[in-house]
Symmetry: C2
Subunit: 186 residues, 2 copies
């Protein structure tokens, strides 16, 4: 899979020449090393990202620790809330595994989205599903049982356990790595 195929999968069908023109607007891949910040706390991010290779986590920097609130995987887009509300982001994106990342200014991204009704409808559908996922995630955070929180993640995102080291998953699940190991056993 590459950027072209992912765009076609998520927003297609799209005419060949239009897709070519859109892909040309994206930056060449840049390499971002482990532990580097791709998006920094309190910055107003103007770009959307495409992760060609590697993984990252989205964190909220609380007083005493970075709390993991989400993950980025190969062959997926990464959007900061900034590109929607034009405000400084409250999150950071930290590289977990060395990544190749392409970027595009949001102006070009939204011009593409809004140019064709079918692409726009697919974007709308994705935003709707992301909204539902965020509501699910809110419930995750409120559930008092660690076992139940783990069970929900296993159902929703089984791939996370193949791609992301356990300490980040534990933070995402609001438990210690030791608790996660213990309840994963049976």
């Amino acid at each position: 899979m590459d950027l072209r195929e992912v765009i076609l999968n998520q927003f297609g069908p799209i005419e060949q020449s239009q897709l070519d023109n859109f892909i040309k607007l994206w930056s060449a891949p840049i390499t971002v090393k482990r532990n580097e910040r791709l998006i920094r706390y309190q910055e107003t991010e103007n770009h959307v990202y495409f992760i060609e290779k590697g993984t990252c986590c989205i964190t909220y920097p609380d007083i005493n620790e970075d709390i993991v609130v989400g993950f980025g995987y190969p062959n997926t887009f990464l959007f900061s809330p900034s590109i929607i509300n034009n405000k400084p982001t409250e999150q950071e994106v930290i590289i977990i595994k060395q990544s190749n990342v392409r970027s595009l200014h949001k102006r070009y991204f939204f011009e593409f989205i809004n140019h064709h009704l079918e692409v726009q409808k697919k974007w709308q559908r994705q935003i709707e599903l992301l909204l539902v996922a965020q509501i699910d995630r809110q419930i995750d955070l409120l559930i008092s049982s660690p076992e139940e929180r783990l069970k929900r993640l296993l159902i929703r995102s089984p791939h996370v356990f193949q791609l992301i080291p356990k300490k980040y998953i534990a933070s995402y699940l609001r438990m210690t790595p030791e608790t996660l190991s213990r309840i994963q056993k049976p």
Copy 2:
């Protein structure tokens, strides 16, 4: 304000006759009493609601308590995640103050939304902003300082303190009503 004005505000301009036809599809207002459930846990909700009068809270029923995750106010729409993903909802909507509520089957709602490009774009924008609000809310839940959680709510939704009794706000902020009273003082 009434249903007509709220639709015009949020989705307008809309041609008079089209708006008339759309409003006719909504049910007459029904009265729902305090503590009654408007939407029940594990039901797949097929309707969108408009709150003409009254207030409600959206709760997640955890093992030991109902946890408040949101509120509904007069002259606003109420959407269950069910209408997007067609799955049973994990939330309940409980009336706080006796309400007059109108309902519409989601089929008519989405036909209206998708009929005109301008209305659809306004819906898309609202969904995008709701998504950002949910991301903010996720961060709310992760912040360890109760004072900071209160401060964020005061900035985001000052009206909540006029409309909603303190015990529900305390649950929403993940603190006891006593803690909320104490930190509201200074």
